[in-house]
């Protein structure tokens, strides 16, 4: 059929090239990572040693998996600051339980830690959906309460390597490519992280629940009218973030061989910084797994390299804080640009 008026309506960004770049925030953070690597490598060529690169990748794992969870929440337009508390609670409870029962193993403990995280996450979902509360307040509250409960009711003493379940430590030490790294291999946990990332990507991109997260981040009302079950989506989001946190907590303990109930304090800012750096909009609806992984990589690269370059560690906090602000400024500029 023909119509007298057929205007071609396409994106209105200033130029096709700019529009293309705006749609791909991964390019920005990827470019930043490359520049940082070149600069750091020229200051200290030891940066390019396989052993250093391996340890850098290993340092991505914990922040990275947590970032996947936070990204999912942020895509829906929410925020989560309770995940460090959930991660630590899941780890400490699981390891305490293992010691008490004299159980040693890997699969079952991880399943338990994940379940603990999932249940705690569903509590977040209950408040956010059931009581229509602001996610920041909900997760501040649940995170603080869980931490307090852990220290008060479960225990505040650190479990050191001598009492840690050996199988867990053995799992955390798994590595490969030992010949390349001159004795220090690449942690197998990096593979686990990559597998989880692929899973989250497939979920977001190719399942309807994944698209409902984006839809919710775009417009809750429109999501309802399109027929999405917003309740299911919100519980899924917070449950998933909690489950990832629980699993990560135990992984963290087995990688550092210590279960410290006071661990991971303040890590939420690093993780949120990495997610925002990776191009996820603080207003929801925009972001990708690839971008988030690059954001995590860049943040870990910058903060770890400060150590290599013998810069005082307090500067790490300044770098992280600055990154949150600059990256959030960049993404909100981008969002305005797209909607211009």
């Amino acid at each position: 059929m023909s119509n007298t008026l057929t205007p071609v309506l396409s994106g209105r960004a200033d130029s096709p090239r700019l529009a293309w770049v705006l749609k791909r925030p991964e390019l920005g953070v990827g470019g930043l990572a490359v520049v940082a690597m070149v600069v750091i490598g020229s200051i200290n060529p030891a940066f390019w040693d396989a052993a250093n690169l391996f340890s850098l990748l290993r340092a991505n794992v914990i922040t990275g998996i947590l970032a996947l969870g936070v990204m999912i929440v942020m895509l829906s337009g929410g925020i989560d600051v309770s995940f460090p508390a959930f991660a630590i609670a899941a780890m400490y409870l699981t390891i305490k339980g293992m010691i008490a029962l004299g159980y040693d193993g890997v699969v079952l403990p991880f399943a338990v830690a994940t379940m603990i995280g999932l249940l705690l996450g569903l509590i977040n979902g209950l408040f956010v959906y059931g009581l229509r509360m602001i996610p920041l307040i909900v997760t501040l509250g649940t995170g603080t309460a869980v931490r307090g409960l852990l220290l008060g009711a479960v225990g505040s003493s650190q479990i050191n390597i001598d009492r840690m379940p050996p199988a867990l430590i053995g799992f955390g030490r798994l590595e490969f490519l030992r010949s390349v790294g001159g004795g220090n291999g690449l942690s197998t946990m990096v593979v686990l992280y990559a597998a989880l990332a692929v899973m989250v990507h497939l979920m977001l991109r190719h399942t309807l629940i994944g698209r409902s997260i984006f839809a919710l981040g775009g417009s809750e009302e429109a999501a309802r009218r399109a027929g999405f079950n917003v309740r299911t989506t919100i519980f899924f989001i917070y449950g998933m973030a909690g489950a990832l946190a629980g699993c990560t907590g135990l992984l963290h303990g087995s990688m550092i061989w210590v279960a410290n109930p006071r661990d991971m304090v303040g890590i939420e800012l690093d993780v949120i910084a990495a997610v925002v750096l990776g191009g996820t909009s603080i207003f929801g609806g925009r972001g990708s797994v690839m971008g988030t992984m690059l954001g995590v990589f860049t943040l870990v690269l910058l903060t770890n390299s400060l150590i290599i370059m013998h810069i005082d560690t307090t500067w790490q906090r300044i770098v992280t804080g600055s990154i949150v602000i600059l990256a959030a400024a960049a993404t909100s500029w981008r969002d305005r640009r797209i909607a211009a």
Binding site: L5, S10, A222
Partner: protein
């Protein structure tokens, strides 16, 4: 004779103690373009929600194709081929056009996995059916309003509707985009789909609708073929206000300077060579089609279009209106059209809403003076005749008319020299409306203000202004009624203005 596609018989619906619809009957024939006209609060939105099954009815009957429908639900409405395009379009700005079009069908089909190729094919088919070129990969946020509307229309057509309801479809479109929209709508009609426009923008509706039903305060006050109505008549029916017999008379006082003198005001692309002089106590109306530049004129005077060229004088002094702060400092006040989103803090008290633009005058050394605030708020409530026992009530509890008084009262506290009112009585009931008009007239006279009144409501303009200017494509093209040439007969002036606007459309 064919049965109506949709028929409402004596439908009644209450919300709490308020009768939103009070025995409304309406029929829509297959394939017709029907206009449901009414002001805000007349029951239009309730009627849409009843037809689309979102709200239930208390009494009356709904018939589809001559068959009684017991309880209309959203699912049933869709099954009967009724699709609604809401004013906000209900789109996902962060997703692509393709996904916006196809996602709903995927959800309703109960799928768990997304097949992007299938979604794209669906979306392409929907766009082809509408006969417009839309970039499927563009995110919806990057489209202009007219483009988003096309996406919403294309999505609605995917459900093979028999009736497409469009809520205020022309509100945010330019006149050219309205013309393009009407082409699309006629094309939709040619396929046998009925279209119900719900609007209070009469001029555009007259151009396309075949039949009209006019709602006021939950009642159908008139209906029939569009040829039986003219714009002024429809407005009168919608508002229920009889036009004032006496226009606002203004004596040119021998003041040395006019309050406002605008010379060659231009803003690239929106305003061209505006020359305008307004004396103390004058109320000057500004009318024009959508996109004529009338709102932009107000924005420029309020410092919101700082890139203007030309000069503005207030009381004989040159002023630069490069920001809202400059405008306020020069005692210009602007009451915007959409008071709910642009003007009021709804949960806050009447007092706070009245005083919030005047805190600088009510404080000493940065500390607010409570008794000065109390006096100011009380005097504003008295001056604007706001019906409330106390200024501590939240504004959200007030009627539309009283809310509007609060917005106007806020600016009056700053003792403006120039008061710009954009749609001063949109969504205000008839009684309240007359009160607001009286207040504006009194204030203009007593305080020697220059008032600019922008409105779609022709009787409002004719009845309250001592002259009415017509804008078209960013220029002042005409001056319709001018009491300086002696009092005019209001009805004739109204007709002249209506005819002039129709010529321009």
């Amino acid at each position: 004779m064919t049965a109506p596609l949709l028929e409402l018989r004596d439908v009644v619906r209450h919300f709490g103690g308020v009768k939103a619809l009070d025995g409304v009957s309406l029929s829509i024939m297959p394939g017709e373009i029907h206009c449901l006209a009414g002001e805000n609060g007349s029951g239009k939105s309730t009627l849409i929600k009843i037809v689309s099954g979102v709200n239930t009815i208390d009494r009356g009957h709904i018939l589809v194709d001559g068959t009684l429908v017991d309880t209309m639900t959203p699912r049933l409405a869709i099954a009967h081929g009724i699709q609604v395009i809401y004013q906000d379009f209900s789109l996902f700005g962060n997703l692509t056009v393709a996904e916006n079009l196809a996602l709903g069908a995927e959800v309703r089909a109960g799928r768990r996995l997304v097949n992007w190729r299938r979604m794209r094919a669906h979306a392409q088919a929907a766009v082809d059916r509408l006969g417009v070129a839309l970039d499927l990969d563009a995110t919806v946020d990057s489209l202009p309003t007219s483009g988003r509307q096309l996406v919403a229309i294309a999505r609605a057509l995917m459900a093979d509707p028999l009736l497409l309801i469009m809520d205020e479809p022309t509100t945010t479109l330019t006149s050219r985009e309205v013309a393009a929209l009407f082409d699309v709508v006629r094309d939709i009609q040619s396929r046998g789909i009925a279209v119900l426009f719900v609007s209070h923008k009469m001029r555009e509706m007259l151009a396309i609708s075949e039949r009209i039903t006019i709602l006021r305060s939950g009642l159908v006050v008139a209906g029939g073929p569009i040829g039986q109505f003219d714009e002024a008549g429809i407005t009168r029916l919608m508002t229920g206000s009889e036009i004032a017999e006496d226009p606002y008379l203004w004596d040119a006082s021998p003041a040395t300077h006019p309050v406002l003198a605008v010379r060659d005001l231009s803003v690239r692309g929106v305003l061209h060579d505006i020359n305008l002089t307004i004396g103390a106590g004058e109320i000057v109306g500004v009318s024009g089609l959508l996109g004529s530049g009338r709102t932009e004129l107000a924005l420029a005077l309020f410092g919101l279009l700082p890139s203007y060229t030309g000069t503005v004088q207030i009381d004989g002094r040159d002023v630069a209106l490069r920001s809202v702060r400059h405008a306020i400092a020069n005692r210009i006040a602007y009451v915007p059209e959409d008071r709910l989103t642009e003007g009021l803090f709804l949960p806050e008290s009447i007092d706070i809403n009245l005083l919030c633009a005047s805190f600088d005058r009510l404080s000493r050394g940065g500390v607010l003076r409570p008794e000065a605030m109390r006096d100011a708020a009380a005097s504003a409530i008295r001056d604007m005749a706001i019906a409330t026992p106390t200024g501590e009530r939240p504004v959200v509890e007030l009627s539309g008319g009283n809310q509007q008084r609060v917005v106007i009262g806020r600016w009056l506290l700053r003792h403006p020299r120039i008061l710009i009112l954009n749609g001063p009585t949109v969504g205000v009931d008839v009684g309240s409306k007359a009160g607001i008009h009286r207040t504006v007239r009194r204030l203009a006279r007593e305080h020697g203000m220059a008032v600019i009144m922008i409105s779609d409501d022709l009787p409002e303009l004719i009845g309250n202004c001592n002259r009415v200017l017509v804008m078209h494509r960013g220029r002042l093209v005409d001056e319709v009624a001018d009491t300086r040439n002696g009092p005019y007969e209001t009805r004739r002036a109204e007709r002249a203005l209506s005819d002039r606007l129709r010529e321009l459309a």
